[in-house]
Amino acid sequence: MANDLLKSTNLPQDPERATLEGKNKFLGFWFFLGGETVLFASLFGTYLALKNSHLDGVPANELFGLGLVFAMTMILLTSSLTSVYAMYHMKNNDAKKMNLWLIITVLLGLSFLGLEIYEFQHYVRDYGHGFTTSAFSSAFYALVGFHGAHVAFGLGWFILLIVRNWKRGINLYNAPKFYIVSLYWHFIDVVWVFIFTVVYLMGVVG
């Protein structure tokens, strides 16, 4: 029976939920995301309470440039789409195409992260907007930084899974792993949509 788990032939339609372990992971991870929602909600609440406390520092509407952030948004949204393609190929038991789309996802994620790092150091260098500048800056870096840390963690997770399973194809043991990392990836994408709206759009307009 144990060997069946590692075979990549004759996979059922939803290999990620075919075993009890897979079902548990699937369900448990949704619960975890529920908890993560509260985590980000708390950070959003803190940010909203402190966003006008910039003291002598630069206020939000002078700080943010929507061009860069829009590009980042598009990149991250696209990476969500490519991870959907990867899952599509996983369900069709096509490991090669899945890996290809996963690699594209990782590359998009890396470029998002690169742009975010550039954005942060731009704020620090050109505006003097550091983590300790004001309550506003602390709240901004805490919220966006938590998201960025999640992206970084997700990238590490993707890379680990791709490398580990490069040669052995899709099976009932690793399918749930691929599936939940893509769930995680969608979640941080959704969080970013809220950050884009609440932090950047409302920061520039509101």
Binding site: M1, A2, L5, L6, L20, K23, N24, L27, G28, F31, F32, G34, G35, E36, T37, V38, L39, S42, L43, G45, T46, A49, L50, S53, H54, L55, F131, T132, S134, A135, F136, S137, S138, A139, A142, G156, W157, L160, L161, R164, Y173, K177
Partner: protein, 621 residues
């Protein structure tokens, strides 16, 4: 490995066994012992507090040490004693009650325990490194960000680690209840303790992240120069209070609902009647949990949120008395006309009902926002929450430990000693806390290290301290009983209490795979149905087959150790950047073991059918 094999094994292999175990019963035992250790520690702190307050102007401890004592008493009892003890009992009983072989995530379960234990140890290391946290267990800002030394850093980092563990535990229980129930065990046939485990886990899942964020912000403020709670930098201290209580209020229901569940097991068993109003009990549990999320601001009536906010939160708070009242009456009606046996778990259940009702009553009083301005931060509040937490949760924990002791250790605790324990503890509890209501109404503020002579406070404080010694004596008796029982008592049968639920259908302690064949559940109180309508044994729901088991692993321990080392490094990097090396080493261990977990296939193993056949009838007896 059977129990006899474990007994013969040497100390080293037993230690290794417990360090690597992923068996929910062993993890449950670890949780119970870990929690009990911290319970004793928190109790000692409470004793020192009471000794200091035995007479006016006492100088038994210094003001600073008093602050540390009362902070650590609260922190220890809530995070490191009450909750782990409950999670331990959940681990021991819940999977058996729903007819599962293990929890959904055995590895995560072990991780949750080690994070709790090492996080708790991190908090307590502060005693030896220049002072424990001293800003009260609520750590209100800005007091907490201006507190000198590293006490509050240990608080935020240690509780962070413990909190991760609790969150893991909660997710694990949720998935377990949903996917691992035995055939026929529908949600509305689940024993109440399993239901309250499920609901408390939902509360953990949605409440703890708020604390996580609060603690992160506190850490950032104290160690990384952020300005969340520093008003001079534009920060806002009320954010901490909101985050803390958005977590903190559901937390009290995390503590009380499982205790309700324990009483809902104990009372039917010892009344020989099914639980009165089962579905209304479930409904009331869900309703309490739901309302529990929208009352946090009743801890903040005096902050100045305005009359409208205060009124809304006051009404929501008082509404919780309704489902709680439903529960109280259901327990009373369960006993009504039943054949009551006054065993020690039942005594705790009987003692709980009036004690908790008093606590509920003062809760409604405190919920009246206008009146709360008078009670706020006085001993009236102290009396109130000790009536619900000791009179509810701690009584529940003791009832549960005694009730499920045979499932943990295969022996029944000595009943005579336990009766003494109950009466000492019960009388001591009321002596200690009843008078504190009046101390509060007289205006004695909480958290002060001395009170003055000639204020009419002397006598009640003396009575309170005497009561505390009664409770201590009772607890010591309980410890003696544990040792005595394990040394002298005979092996217990699988069903020593004439129980009604599935955990009593397996031997005491159960085989490591719990059920040789998953039982077929025919209704509520499945074992009782088989006792009254069948042959007294659970019927199997599946043919005998290989059983899939998870592998043991040292990784949960290593991971938690790594995170704790990283935490210590983070605390001290403000003094000397070299400590970053320690932090990095810790994180490398932590993420490294995570990666190992991900990279290494862990398929578990199978117990072959033939071996199970050899072991005879493990399903009952």
């Amino acid at each position: 490995m059977s129990t006899t094999a474990t007994k013969k094994a040497g100390f080293g292999s037993v230690l290794w066994d417990y360090l690597t175990t992923v068996d929910h019963k062993k993890i449950g035992i670890l949780y119970v012992f870990g929690g009990f250790f911290f319970f004793i520690l928190g109790g000692l702190e409470a004793m020192l507090v009471r000794i200091q307050l035995v007479q006016p102007d006492n100088d038994f401890v210094s003001a600073q040490f008093y602050n540390e004592l009362m902070t650590m008493h609260g922190t220890t009892m809530i995070f490191l004693a009450a909750m782990p003890l409950l999670i331990g009992l959940m681990n021991v009983a819940m999977p058996l009650q729903i007819g599962a072989r293990d929890v959904a995530f055995p590895f995560v379960n072990a991780l949750g325990f080690w994070l709790f234990l090492l996080g708790g140890i991190v908090v307590n290391i502060s005693w030896f490194t220049g002072g424990a946290p001293d800003a009260g267990w609520t750590a209100y800002a800005p007091l907490s960000i201006f507190s000198e030394g590293h006490g509050l850093d240990y608080y935020s980092i240690g509780l962070q680690i413990t909190g991760f563990g609790t969150l893991m535990g909660g997710i694990n229980f949720l998935a377990t209840v949903i996917t691992m129930r035995a055939p026929g065990m529908t949600m509305m046939r689940m024993p109440l303790f399993s239901w309250t485990t499920f609901i408390a886990s939902i509360l953990i899942l949605f409440a703890f992240p708020a604390l996580t964020v609060g603690l992160f912000l506190l850490t950032f403020d104290r160690l990384f120069g952020a300005n969340f709670f520093d008003p001079s930098m534009g920060g806002n201290v009320v954010i901490w209070e909101h985050l803390f209580w958005i977590f903190g209020h559901p937390e009290v229901y995390i503590l009380i609902l499982p205790a309700f569940g324990i009483f809902s097991e104990v009372i039917p068993t010892f009344s020989k009647k099914r639980l009165f109003g089962y579905s209304s009990m479930v409904f009331a549990t869900v309703l309490i949990a739901f309302l529990g999320f929208m009352v946090w601001a009743h801890h903040m009536f005096t902050v100045g949120l305005g009359p409208i906010a205060n009124s809304i939160f006051a009404i929501a708070t008082m509404a919780i008395a309704v489902p709680t009242g439903i529960k109280i009456f259901n327990w009373l009606f369960t006993m009504w006309g039943g054949t009551i046996r006054f065993t020690s778990p039942m005594l705790f259940a009987l003692g709980f009902i009036p004690s908790f009702t008093i606590g509920g009553m003062t809760g409604v009083m405190l919920g009246a926002a206008a009146a709360d301005f008078q009670y706020h931060d006085t001993y009236f509040v102290i009396a109130h929450f000790h009536y619900v937490i000791v009179g509810g949760t701690v009584f529940g924990i003791f009832a549960g430990i005694i009730y499920w002791w045979p499932k943990m250790f295969g022996k029944v605790l000595n009943e005579k000693l336990n009766h003494w324990f109950f009466w000492l503890f019960f009388i001591g509890f009321h002596l200690t806390f009843f008078v504190q209501h009046f101390l509060g109404l007289m205006g004695m503020p909480r958290r002060y290290w001395v009170f003055l002579e000639g204020q009419g406070l002397d006598l009640f404080n003396l009575i309170s301290t005497i009561g505390a010694f009664f409770m201590a004596a009772g607890t010591i008796l309980f410890i003696i009983n544990m040792i005595y029982t394990q040394a002298k008592a005979p092996q217990a049968s699988g069903d020593p209490w004439d129980g009604r639920t599935l955990e009593w259908a397996v031997s005491s302690p159960p085989p490591y795979y719990n059920f040789k064949q998953l039982p077929l559940v025919r209704g509520l109180d499945p074992l009782w149905i088989e006792k009254t309508e069948g042959n007294g044994k659970m019927q199997p729901a599946e043919p005998l087959d290989d059983i899939h088991m998870p592998n043991s692993s040292i990784l949960p321990f290593v991971m938690s150790l790594g995170l704790s080392i990283a935490g210590i490094g983070i605390i001290y990097q403000v003094d000397n950047p070299m400590w970053w090396i320690v932090a990095v080493i810790g994180f490398v261990i932590f993420f490294g073991s995570m990666a190992v977990r991900s990279l290494k296939d862990d398929l578990g193993y199978h117990i072959p059918k033939e071996e199970l056949e050899k072991e005879g009838d493990g399903s009952n007896g």
